[in-house]
Amino acid sequence: MAITRSRTAEEELLQKIPREEHLQMYRMMVLIRRFEEMAGKMYMQAAIGGFCHLYIGQEAVAVGIQSALRPDDYVMGTYREHGQILAAGSDPKAVMAELFGKVTGVSRGKGGSMHLFDREKNFMGGTAIVGGNLPIAAGVGFAIKYRGGDQVCVCYFGDGAVNEGAFHESLNIAALWKLPVLFVCENNLYGMGTQVTRASAVPDLERRVVGYGIESAQVDGMDLLAIRKVAETAIQECRSGRGPFFIEAKTYRYRGHSMADPATYRTKEEVEEWRVRDPITRYEKQLLGAGILTDDDIQNVSREVDEIVEESVRFSEESPLPAPHELYTDVYAAEI
């Protein structure tokens, strides 16, 4: 399915969405950006351990997709999921506390950066095995259909995942059984340090799903409104029982694969080219240009978000570590 963007379509969407919702989406993108910048800083100060994969640059994808969902829909993230869980509406304090390994974290300090969960928000993690969440998303889709519901399960993964067997098994079974799964490929051009052209025989990733007969779309992953528009179409397709939908969002991560990665496999010029297309700046300009937000609104958001992020750090620093007995809890749900 070809999604064509025109100025009129963009204007139409700008006007269609209520101001309050624009403000929410804009605030969420800025929150993710500042939260991630702070997470990077905290990682450098060793307040955060392990692997830490930042979402900076990709904010429009999670916000655009998830703003089109209902609260009873499901989301399955990847290991680069800080932005995805924030977009699901989880408390930034509890997300930051999880990165700090504190008991007040979303996963009680037992998951970490790569395993963020929030059952109340139907955010099902947080998995750090590339492609591992696709079969599970099919299972969630199966459960939705089994119960006759009209929810949707969104499943995020990167360009690296399309070369895993799990990707192909899952797309086939989801299409075969018409499961309500929205597969969202965040193509940020690199699977760790390997460019997609060195990993995929067909680098045009949307074409990789043609063999499964799945409806699909390619979208500019740096354009919030474009993503929102395609998400609405895709989610409607899934809800109506016509089966899964595949979105390839062409996006870019400004930082390395993880905090440990200096990203020497790409040029500074390439990073700069993408920064020019920054999704937050772009959306901000659109909102200001259409008179939906004012400079004051922008400054207010900036101040609010900074306070939220600083509060999340304060909260995390002050929170206790998990008690030693937590080592042994949550291995089994049943008493052993």
């Binding site: 499901y74 974290g105 979303v106 996963s107 009680r108 300090g109 037992k110 998951g111 970490g112 395993h115 969960f117 929030d118 059952r119 099902m124 993690g125 947080g126 998995t127 095995i129 591992g132 696709l134 079969p135 599970i136 998303a137 099919a138 299972g139 969630v140 889709g141 199966f142 459960a143 939705i144 089994y146 399960c153 067997g165 799990a166 098994e169 899952s170 086939n172 079974i173 075969l176 809890t329 949550d330 291995v331 089994y332 749900a333 049943a334 052993i336």
Partner: protein, 327 residues
């Protein structure tokens, strides 16, 4: 009490649980139209329909993912792997996902899923179709592992497994599907994590599970004729392991023969030996004797296969020797 086969007992367990809980369904290769590769699901498509008895493509990782995802969303899936050998294609889902969700979500998401699979040696099925992998699964915290030996246990344990809130690996030995035993028609369960003393004895403890428990019973009968009283401890569940039952028996008999059809390296026999060393060392009158499959891939030739597979005679001889002080 009706006498039925192990296979029929499993079929009863599945039907009973599906009748009383609409969240239970079965999914796997050939479970519906074909009636199950080993006919465990025979007649179930007709009773429950294709929504609850679901054929899949040959996609083991996806099958396991369907189980994990459906379980996360609150259903109680029973996934069938056609044989345990194929479950290796689904290990990422089982080990990295099913076994980890509850812990890494800080207690938010449990995975009430059962993975059923035929296991063990067959008859001249060769290297890729004659394997045991219980020790792989037992190794992983977060999983439960069940290997029933009798029709009674098969039914009661499968019902418990389906009702359990955690992921359960339920392994059915291929060569005992047609064994028969008394199985009540009523709604009973056998709890997970509880061993069964299948035969009481005083001279030696035979600690075993699955098909080896049937061999142990036969060996014990022969040993009795020679005046040797063997106790048969059928573990039934390997994780959680009924350590108390093992140690209690060994403290009484002072001798232990541990049995598995699986390869010996890092297997249940090794685990049981260590458990006994840690918990009953002072009670032992002889070193623990381990019986296992031979440490080679399974050969096809009939004579070689026979040499590779442990059985009644191995248990019988080991018990005689250990009681005679020859070990």
């Amino acid at each position: 009490m009706p006498v039925i086969t192990y296979r029929e007992a499993l079929n009863q367990a599945l039907r009973e649980e599906m009748r009383q809980d609409p969240d239970v369904f079965i999914v796997g290769e050939e479970v519906a139209e074909y009636q199950g590769a080993y006919k465990v699901t025979e007649g179930m498509l007709a009773e429950f329909g294709p929504q609850r008895v679901v054929d899949t493509p040959i996609s083991e990782e996806a099958i396991a993912g369907i189980g994990v995802g459906a379980a996360l969303a609150g259903l109680k899936p029973v996934i069938e792997m056609m044989t345990v050998n194929f479950s290796l294609l689904a290990l990422d889902q089982i080990v990295n996902h099913a076994a980890k969700y509850l812990y890494m979500s800080g207690g938010q998401y449990n995975v009430p899923m059962v993975m059923r699979a035929p296991t063990g040696v067959g008859l001249q099925l060769g290297a890729q179709h004659s394997q045991n992998f219980e020790s792989w699964f037992v190794h992983c915290p977060g999983l439960k592992v069940v290997l029933p030996a009798t029709p009674y246990d098969a039914k009661g344990l499968l019902k418990s497994s389906i009702r359990d809130p955690d992921p359960v690996i339920f392994l059915e030995h291929e060569l005992i599907y047609l064994t028969k035993g008394e199985v009540p028609e009523d709604d009973y369960v056998v709890p997970l994590g509880v061993a069964d003393i299948k035969r009481k004895g005083t001279d030696v403890s035979i600690i075993c599970y699955s098909r080896m428990a049937l061999f142990a019973m036969k060996a014990a009968e022969r040993l009795e004729e020679e005046g040797i009283s063997a106790e048969v401890v059928d573990l039934r569940t390997l994780r959680p392991l009924d350590v108390d039952a093992v140690l209690e028996s060994v403290r009484k008999t002072h001798r232990a023969v541990v049995c598995e059809e699986d390869w010996p390296m890092c297997g249940m026999g090794a685990e049981l030996s260590a458990t006994i060393m840690e918990g009953a060392f002072d009670y032992l009158d002889a070193p623990v004797k381990r019986i296992s499959g031979v440490d080679v891939p399974m050969p096809y030739a009939k004579n070689l296969e026979k040499l590779a597979v442990p059985g009644e005679e191995d248990i019988y001889q080991a018990c005689r020797q250990i009681v005679a002080g020859e070990i």
